[in-house]
Subunit: 456 residues, 2 copies
C-alpha cells in the first residue's frame, strides 16, 4: 500500500467531480462485486492492525496534550483511541454490512398502465454523499462501508484530531477496492474544503453531517444540498398516572445513566401529579446514587421538600432547561397535571428525536404515541433504544431529526432513492388524451424489473 | 360564507404558527373525517360556481390587458381561465382524492427486537408544507386536497394574477371544513410573505415550489427548509441502432408535439449513426409539418443535406442547446456513435427528469435504463408519460428532479413520512449492553400498529 501518510494531492473540487463520475458506474456494480469489496476492506484492515495502531497512537498522543491544555475532554480522547479489539470489531462491522440484504434493485411497486406498458419503481443509489464527522476513526470505515454497499460515492471529511488514523484507514479502503470504480471514496481534510463541498450542489446529492448541533445547523444554513442530520436530542420520559412506578424508575434510570453523553439519553422527566410524590422519592435516591444533578420545576421542588426521606436540595429549573441537551449526568423534572399537558410540553420543547411514555394503560399510550411529534415514540421502554443497531437496521449512518427522506436511525435504506422504469411498446400520450382518450388500467402486479423473457 | 374578497388579516408569521399548531391535531384526524371534509370541499365548490366564475372573470380581464401589454402570453391566460366544466372537474378531482387509499397509519415494517419489545414503522404526515405556485387556480384546490388527505397543514401562496380566484376557492375550502382543526390551510398573498415562509425553518417542514426553474433555484438558495421541486426538464429520446424506426418516429413526435410547453416534453433527440439517415428523413418531414424548429449538430446537418428529399436548412445547434428546456416547438438533434455515447450525453447534459430509449433489443434497453441517472427512464414510450396521473399515483403535487425523499411524479406518498413506535415492557438498554449483553431477535413479523388486545 502507499505510505500511510500520503493522500491524493487533488483539490477538493477535483475529488468531488471524480466521485460524481464514479457514482455513475458504481450504481451498476453487482451485489457480489460490492460484497467482495467489503470483505476485502475488512481483510485489509485486519492485516494492517499494527500500522493503524501506530498512526492512531500519534493522534492520541497529540490529543492527550490538548486534554492537559483543556481543549479536549478525556471522553473525546477515549472515542479517538483504537485498540486491536476495536479494530477487529471495525472489520467485523464491515463484514456485517456485506452480509446485509442488498438495498439496491428492489422493485417497490409494479403497475400495468395499459397493455404492454408497465411501470416499475426500483431502488437505486442516491449518487454522491458528502459526510463530515468527528473523533471516532471507525466512523470513516462505517460510512464508507454503508456507502459502498448502497452503491453511493462518498466524500469523507473527518476531524483533524484523527487525521493520521483516518489516512491509514482510508488507504486500507482504497487498497482493498481496486475493482470498484476509481474515485468512489474521497478523503478531504481542510476546513475550507468543507465549504467547497457545500457549494457543489450540482455534484453532491446529500450531505450528512455528524457532530454538534451548531455544526449541523451551520451546514443547513450554508448549502442548498439536502442535509440529513440531527440537530439536538432533547428526549423526554413521561411517567403517567397509570405507570408501574418500579418499571418507570428503572427505565428513567437507564435512559439517563446508562450513557448520558449520547443524543438518545433522556434530558427531561415529566411526571403526572398523581404519582409524583411516590415516583420522585424512589427516583431521587437512584439518581443521587448515580451522581445525577436534578433541576426541578416548583412543584418538583415542593414535593421533594415535603418528602421527609429526601435530603436533597433541588436546583430550580429555568425555561432554558426545557430545551437543553445536557449530554451529561443532569436531568430536569417537571410535574404535569395530565397526559395532555405532557404531550404539549414535549411538542413545545422537544427536538422530535425520541419520546417515551411509561403507563400500563394502552389507550393512554396510544394517545401519547399518536400526538407526540417525534421520530421515535416509545411505550414502556428506555429512550436509549433509538439506535440503528438496536432497531435492527444493521449499522447506522446517523439519526435524523428532520422529517424528510429518512427519520430516526438511518440505515442502508436511507442511502437509497428510487427510479421509475417504464417498459412500453411504442405508446404515445396522444392515445390517452383528448375526448376519445383511452383509459389507463393502473393495476398493480407482482413482477420485478428487469423482466426476462425466455426467448431473450 | 364570508365575502369572497376577504381573507384573514393575520401576518404571515401568525398564519404559519397557526398552521403548525393545527398540524399537531390534524395528524390524528380519522380517515373518515378527512374524507368527509374532502367531499364537503367538492360540494362547496360546486355550489359556488357562479361566485368562482365571477372572481375568475375579473382576474382574467386584468390578465388579458397584460397580454396586450406584452407581459403575459395567451397560454398563460388560458391556464388562468376557469369555466363551469373546469370547476366541475376540480370538484371531481377532490372527490377522487377522497377515494384514494389513506396514506396515513400504514405499518411499513414490524420487527420484534426481543420478547415484548416490538418496533413498528408507521406512516404519518410531514407536518406543515409551504407551497408557492402560479397561474392555475385549480392548483390551490389540488394542493389543499392532497395536504388534507395526507394530514398536513398547508401554506398556500398563489400568483397575484389569480388573487381573486384563489380567495374565493380558499374561502370555499375553509367554509367546507369547520370540523378540521382551524388553521390547517393558510393563504398568503404578498411577495414578502414568501420570504417570511422561507425563514421559518422551525415551523415549516417542507417547501414545494411550482414555477420557473429560476424561481425553484431561488427558493433552494434562500431557505434551510427541505425543498421538493423540479428545476428543469431537459428530456431526451434516444433512437438506438436497433430501434423500430416507425415506432421511434411516432414516439419522438408525441414527445415533442403533443404538448411542447410541459417539463416532460423532449428537448433533444439522440440518434445512433447507423439509423440516422433513414430515421432523420422520416422524422424531419413530420416535425416540419408540425412546425417544429430543428437545431442539429454537424452530423445531423450533413445527413439532412445529403438526403435529397429534405429541403430544410438545419440550424446549427450550439453547446447551449444541449442544456436548454425550450418548452416550445423546438428540438435539438445530435447523431451519436454508440449507446454509450448517448448515455454519456444524457448524463452530462440532462436534468435527471425523464429519458427514453427506442430499441427492440432488451439488453440495450436495460443497459440504458441502468446507466442513465434520471427519475424516470423509459423503453419504447413517450417521455410525456412521466406524470402522476398517468403513473397511477392519483393527483400529483409536482414532479421532483431531486433525489431525496421523493423523485419523479409525487403523489400522496410524497407528503408522508414515518414514525417509529416501540412497544415495550419496561426494557432497559443496560440489559443489551456490555459483556453479558442479551442479544436482539430482530425478527420481522406481520402486525400493524396499534395492536389491540382482546382484554382491552
Amino acid at each position: 500500500m502507499t505510505d500511510s501518510g500520503e493522500i491524493d494531492p487533488q483539490t477538493a473540487e477535483e475529488k468531488v467531480t471524480d466521485a460524481q463520475t464514479a457514482a455513475l458506474s458504481l450504481s451498476n456494480l453487482s451485489t457480489a462485486r460490492r460484497n467482495e469489496a467489503l470483505t476485502a476492506i475488512a481483510d485489509t484492515i485486519e492485516r494492517n492492525v499494527d500500522r493503524i495502531l501506530e498512526a492512531n497512537a500519534a493522534d492520541v498522543a497529540d490529543a492527550e496534550k490538548q486534554v492537559d491544555a483543556g481543549e479536549y475532554t478525556q471522553a473525546f480522547v477515549d472515542r479517538l483511541t483504537l485498540s486491536t479489539s476495536k479494530i477487529e470489531s471495525i472489520a467485523e462491522m464491515v463484514r456485517s454490512v456485506a452480509e446485509q440484504d442488498d438495498p439496491l434493485g428492489e422493485t417497490l411497486t409494479a403497475r400495468e398502465l395499459d397493455d404492454d406498458l408497465n411501470l416499475y419503481k426500483v431502488t437505486v443509489p442516491i449518487g454522491v454523499i458528502g459526510t463530515v464527522f468527528e473523533s471516532r476513526p471507525d466512523a470513516l470505515v462505517q460510512i464508507s462501508a454503508l456507502s459502498l454497499k448502497s452503491g453511493n460515492a462518498v466524500i469523507l471529511k473527518g476531524g483533524s484530531e484523527a487525521e493520521r488514523s483516518n489516512r491509514v484507514l482510508y488507504n486500507c479502503i482504497l487498497e482493498a477496492t481496486p475493482e470498484v470504480p476509481s474515485g468512489w471514496a474521497q478523503l478531504i481534510e481542510a476546513r475550507e474544503d468543507v465549504q467547497t463541498l457545500l457549494e457543489m450542489d450540482d455534484a453532491v446529492d446529500l450531505i450528512m453531517p455528524r457532530g454538534s448541533s451548531s455544526f449541523v445547523q451551520y451546514v443547513q444554513d450554508n448549502t442548498s444540498i439536502p442535509v440529513l442530520g440531527h440537530t439536538e436530542g432533547v428526549c423526554h420520559v413521561y411517567v403517567d398516572s397509570e405507570a408501574d412506578l418500579e418499571m418507570a424508575t428503572a427505565v428513567a434510570y437507564d435512559a439517563k445513566v446508562q450513557y448520558p453523553a449520547v443524543c438518545n439519553a433522556v434530558e427531561t422527566l415529566l411526571v403526572h401529579e398523581s404519582v409524583a410524590p411516590s415516583f420522585l422519592s424512589q427516583m431521587m435516591k437512584q439518581y443521587r446514587d448515580a451522581g445525577v444533578e436534578i433541576r426541578g420545576d416548583e412543584r418538583t421542588q415542593s414535593i421533594v421538600d415535603t418528602e421527609s426521606n429526601i435530603s436533597e436540595e433541588i436546583i430550580a429549573a429555568t425555561e432554558a432547561d426545557w430545551t437543553t441537551e445536557y449530554g451529561d449526568r443532569i436531568v430536569s423534572i417537571a410535574v404535569v397535571d395530565s397526559l395532555t399537558d405532557a404531550i404539549d410540553h414535549i411538542n413545545m420543547y422537544g427536538s422530535k428525536h425520541t419520546e417515551s411514555i411509561l403507563t400500563q394503560d394502552d389507550n393512554r399510550a396510544e394517545q401519547f404515541m399518536r400526538a407526540v411529534d417525534a421520530a421515535s415514540v416509545f411505550h414502556n421502554a428506555s429512550t436509549r433504544f433509538a439506535d440503528g443497531f438496536r432497531f435492527g437496521l444493521g449499522a447506522e449512518v446517523g439519526i435524523s431529526t428532520g422529517k424528510i427522506h429518512a427519520r430516526g436511525p438511518v440505515g442502508l435504506d436511507g442511502l437509497t432513492t428510487y427510479k421509475y422504469h417504464l417498459e412500453g411498446d411504442g405508446q404515445q400520450v396522444a392515445t390517452y388524451a383528448g375526448s376519445d382518450a383511452k383509459p389507463f388500467d393502473h393495476a398493480e402486479f407482482d413482477e420485478t424489473w428487469p423482466v426476462r423473457n425466455d426467448d431473450g
